[in-house]
C-alpha cells in the first residue's frame, strides 16, 4: 500500500480554505487575521524547510549527521522548555539538556535495536521522527515537573524548612516536592494511555495509516511509542529534578530565589 499523494492542485484547494476563515474572522471582528496570515506563512516556510532537509538527511543517512540533528533537536527543546517554565535560563540549560539527551538517546537506540530491530540502528527515517515524538512529550512533562517543583517548594517553603530542621538533608527535604512534581508531570501521559483509541485516533497511528500502513502495524507502533514516551519522560523527569535539587539551592540548602525571579 502507498500513501495517497496530494497533487499541487490539491494543495491549492487546501490553502483556499484560509479565504473563508479570513472572511469569518473579519465578519465577527475577531481581530486575528494578521496573526492568522503570519502563522500560515511561518508554517509554510518552516515545514518546507523541514521537507527539504529531511529528504536529504534521509537520503544521506549518515550516523554523524543523524546524531547531530538529534543533538540540535534536544538543544532547542531544552532551550524552549526552560524559557516557557519562566525559570532562569543560564543556570538550568546544561542540566536540562543532559536530562533530555541521555534518556532520549538511550530509549531511542533501544527502540531501534530491540523493538523495531533495525539492522542499522541509526537509520535516519526511524531515528529522527521517533526522537521528535519523544522530545515533544518529554519537553512538555519536564516543563510541568520543573514548574511544579519550584512553585510548590516556594509556596511551601515552610514545610521544606520544617523537614530540614528535623534532620532532613536537602534531598530528603525536597523529596515530597519531587514526588508531587513527577506525579503532576506524568499524569497526562497516564491519562493518554488510558483513553487512547476511545476519543480520537492517536497521531502516530493516524500518520501511519495515512501513509499506507496496515492498521495492525500502525497499532503496534502506537503502543510501542506510548510505552517509550512514558519511560523516557519519567527518566528525564527524575534526572531533571535531580539536577534541579543540586542547582536550585545554595550551600546552606536555602532555595535560590534568583532562579525563579526572572521570566
Amino acid at each position: 500500500m502507498n500513501a495517497a499523494t496530494i497533487p499541487i492542485s490539491g494543495l491549492v484547494f487546501g490553502l483556499l480554505l484560509i479565504a473563508p476563515s479570513i472572511l469569518l474572522i473579519w465578519w465577527f471582528r475577531l481581530g486575528i487575521n494578521k496573526q492568522l496570515l503570519v502563522s500560515v506563512v511561518r508554517m509554510l516556510v518552516q515545514l518546507s524547510f523541514v521537507a527539504l532537509y529531511l529528504k536529504y538527511i534521509f537520503l544521506l543517512d549518515h550516523i554523524l549527521v543523524n546524531l547531530a540533528y538529534i543533538l540540535l533537536m534536544v538543544l532547542f527543546a531544552a532551550h524552549s522548555g526552560i524559557r516557557s517554565s519562566s525559570l532562569r535560563l543560564k543556570k538550568l540549560l546544561v542540566p536540562t539538556f543532559i536530562a533530555m539527551l541521555l534518556p532520549t538517546l538511550a530509549t531511542l537506540l533501544y527502540f531501534n535495536w530491540a523493538i523495531v530491530q533495525l539492522e542499522h540502528i541509526f537509520q535516519a527515517d526511524v531515528l529522527i521522527p521517533v526522537a521528535g515524538l519523544m522530545l515533544g512529550n518529554t519537553l512538555k512533562s519536564n516543563i510541568v515537573a520543573l514548574k511544579t517543583f519550584f512553585n510548590s517548594i516556594r509556596k511551601e517553603e515552610k514545610t521544606y524548612c520544617f523537614l530540614l530542621g528535623n534532620g532532613a538533608s536537602k534531598q530528603e527535604a525536597a523529596r515530597p516536592f519531587m514526588k508531587e512534581a513527577i506525579r503532576m508531570a506524568m499524569a497526562p501521559n497516564l491519562a493518554t494511555m488510558a483513553t487512547v483509541g476511545l476519543v480520537s485516533l492517536p497521531g502516530v497511528m493516524t500518520g501511519q495509516i495515512l501513509g499506507g500502513s496496515d492498521p495492525v502495524l500502525a497499532v503496534k507502533y502506537q503502543i510501542m511509542v506510548m510505552v517509550i514516551i512514558f519511560f523516557n519522560s519519567l527518566l528525564s523527569n527524575v534526572l531533571q529534578l535531580f539536577f534541579a535539587i543540586r542547582q536550585g539551592f545554595n550551600k546552606s540548602d536555602q532555595l535560590d530565589k534568583s532562579l525563579l525571579d526572572q521570566g
Binding site: E156, T159, L163, L164, N166, G167, S169, R175, P176, D253
Partner: protein, 234 residues
C-alpha cells in the same frame, strides 16, 4: 545596648555548678555575636549578642514582628545574617557545618508544617532520614505518644493537611520527643492548645535537660525556669 546573657544556673544536676563557674564557656551551646539582620526594610537585629548555655531555657517574648522567628531561622541556617556570626558549641554556623548542627536540633515551626500525607507515612519518612536513622522509632512508640497527648489513634491514617491546629501542635510535640535532640527550637508551640495541654508541655520544658529556645507571647510560658527576652533590637 548590647545584650549578653550567660545562663548557667540551670544545668545543675547535669554538671556541678562550680565546674560551670570555672569554665563557663565550655558549656556554651549557642552564641550570637554582633549579629545584624534586615528583612525587607525592617532592621530586626542590630549587633545582637546572646549566649545560651547547655540546658538553658530561653523564652523570646518580644512583640510580634520583632524577629523572634528569624532568630530561630538564623540558628537553623534558613536565612543568613547581614553581619556578625553565630556559633554552635563554639563552632561558627556556616554552610559547611550547618547540616551537622541541624542534626542536633528539633524544630517546631509556627504552623508545624508537616508535609502532605498520612500521619503514619509522614512520620515513617521523617525517621528514615539519614540523620534520624539511629533513633529507634516504631509506630508503637508514636501510638504511645498519641495516647499520652489525648490524640485519637485514628489520627495515624488521617492526612496531615486536614487535622486541626491543636492536633498538629501535639503531633509536633510527639515528633520532637521521639527525635530526642539536645536542642529544641519552638515557635509558638502551644498557641492552639487548651490550658491543660499547654501546661503539660510547659512542664515538660521546665524539667528537661535539653537546651530550649521558645518563641511565645503567652504569659503562661514565663515560668522561673525560662530566661525571658523581651527586647531584641536595642
Amino acid at each position: 545596648m548590647v545584650m549578653c546573657l550567660c545562663l548557667f544556673q540551670d544545668i545543675a544536676g547535669h554538671v556541678p555548678a562550680f565546674f560551670v563557674l570555672l569554665f563557663p564557656y565550655s558549656f556554651l551551646m549557642i552564641r550570637f555575636k554582633d549579629v545584624s539582620l534586615r528583612l525587607g526594610n525592617k532592621q530586626l537585629l542590630k549587633n545582637f549578642n546572646l549566649r545560651i548555655a547547655k540546658g538553658d531555657k530561653v523564652l523570646l517574648a518580644a512583640q510580634s514582628g520583632s524577629g523572634k522567628t528569624s532568630l530561630l531561622r538564623l540558628i537553623l541556617g534558613f536565612i543568613d545574617s547581614d553581619s556578625g556570626q553565630l556559633f554552635y558549641k563554639k563552632k561558627a554556623i556556616s554552610p559547611e557545618s550547618i547540616q551537622k548542627i541541624r542534626s542536633q536540633m528539633a524544630y517546631l515551626s509556627q504552623d508545624v508544617d508537616f508535609p502532605n500525607g498520612k500521619v503514619r507515612d509522614v512520620f515513617q519518612e521523617i525517621f528514615q532520614f539519614d540523620s534520624n536513622k539511629h533513633v529507634a522509632y516504631s509506630e508503637e512508640k508514636l501510638l504511645e505518644k498519641l495516647r499520652a497527648f489525648d490524640l485519637p489513634e485514628a489520627l495515624l491514617t488521617k492526612n496531615t493537611s486536614i487535622i486541626s491546629g491543636g492536633e498538629r501542635q501535639r503531633l509536633g510535640w510527639a515528633l520532637i520527643q521521639l527525635l530526642d535532640r539536645p536542642v529544641l527550637l519552638l515557635d509558638e508551640p502551644t498557641s492552639a492548645m487548651d490550658e491543660k495541654q499547654k501546661q503539660r508541655f510547659i512542664d515538660y520544658v521546665a524539667q528537661t535537660r535539653k537546651t530550649v529556645i521558645c518563641v511565645s507571647h503567652d504569659p503562661a510560658w514565663q515560668i522561673p525556669e525560662m530566661k525571658v527576652i523581651t527586647n531584641l533590637i536595642t
